[in-house]
Amino acid sequence: MRMREIFVYLSLLLVFILPLQLHAASVEQVQPARYQALLTELRCLVCQNQDLLESHAPLADDLKEKVKQLMQAGHSDDEIRQYLVKRYGDFILFKPRLQSTTWVLWFGPVIFLVVGCVAAIVWVRRSHGAS
């Protein structure tokens, strides 16, 4: 009688605990693709050519934890990036954001190419014209 009671109570306990375990799945298990994609955009500030996904530096672990917390709290990718940039500056992002200070970086090469092509065409035309 004793053993059976114990067995019943244990089974009941398991029945109640199991759903709780499933409910508490962490965010990186529920949204793994999003989590990993976000980590690859973020620079490990210690080993600076590595992203947070591949780095084993302690700071990388802390930042990964922070990203998980922010995802858990329901923040968007953009909000998470903003949160980190506010504390560490633009350097933590591998892709420099498009803003007034990076305008030259993003559009400079294209503009140079266009100017160069135009100059070349004008030059060739002029030479033909002269002869």
């Binding site: 500030l45 210690v46 600076q48 302690p58 700071l59 802390d62 930042l63 934890e65 922070k66 940039v85 506010k86 504390r87 560490y88 500056g89 350097f91 160069g116 100059a119």
Partner: protein, 173 residues
């Protein structure tokens, strides 16, 4: 004549850009600027090391303070301890933040190498460090009497750093 001069424009542009790139070579990417410079110290509260109570951001009022991030596993921290003690003896108020460390080894570090701190908070998880933009140890922050972050130096705190970076920002009241 003007056409000839126009031909020089691409060359001039190249020279200007080359100049900036050349300057860029001497910038160290490991020296991160303080992203929250000028902003108020983020609100935090940490348990004290070796005593009861807490160390929180409200502490940084009324005087200039240094916030020194250190750990017993940090070799450079040993080297700067002597200078920090000297600063403390001249009246500089230094708050310590024990970063991702074990309390027992941290306490024995202070016993061995000296204690320049008016108080030490324990950031065992490194989460308060993230709020400040800490990316390693040692780091020393200069905080104004209004509680604003003025400067952050990542590396060994020395007489040269103190004189050239911190002192000029500390104005007599």
């Amino acid at each position: 004549m003007i056409k000839r001069l126009l031909l020089l424009v691409p060359l001039m542009l190249f020279v200007i850009i080359a100049f900036f790139l050349w300057k860029g070579l001497s910038c160290s990417p490991h020296v991160l600027p303080l992203a929250q410079q000028g902003k108020t110290v983020p609100i935090f509260s940490l348990p004290r090391l070796g005593e009861a109570g807490s160390v929180d951001s409200k502490l940084f009022r009324g005087h200039y303070h240094l916030l020194n991030v250190w750990a017993s596993w940090c070799d450079v921290c040993v080297q700067e301890q002597g200078f920090l003690i000297h600063l403390a003896q001249t009246g500089v108020k230094i708050v310590g933040m024990n970063y991702k460390d074990d309390p027992a080894t941290a306490l024995s570090f202070l016993k061995t190498f000296g204690n320049p701190y008016i108080a030490v908070g324990q950031d065992q998880t490194g989460q308060v460090g993230i709020e400040l933009g800490v990316y390693g140890a040692p780091e020393t922050f200069l905080i104004s009497p209004e509680g604003r972050l003025l400067e952050r130096y990542a590396g060994e705190m020395t007489q040269v750093v103190w004189k050239t970076l911190f002192l000029p920002q500390m104005h007599e009241r």
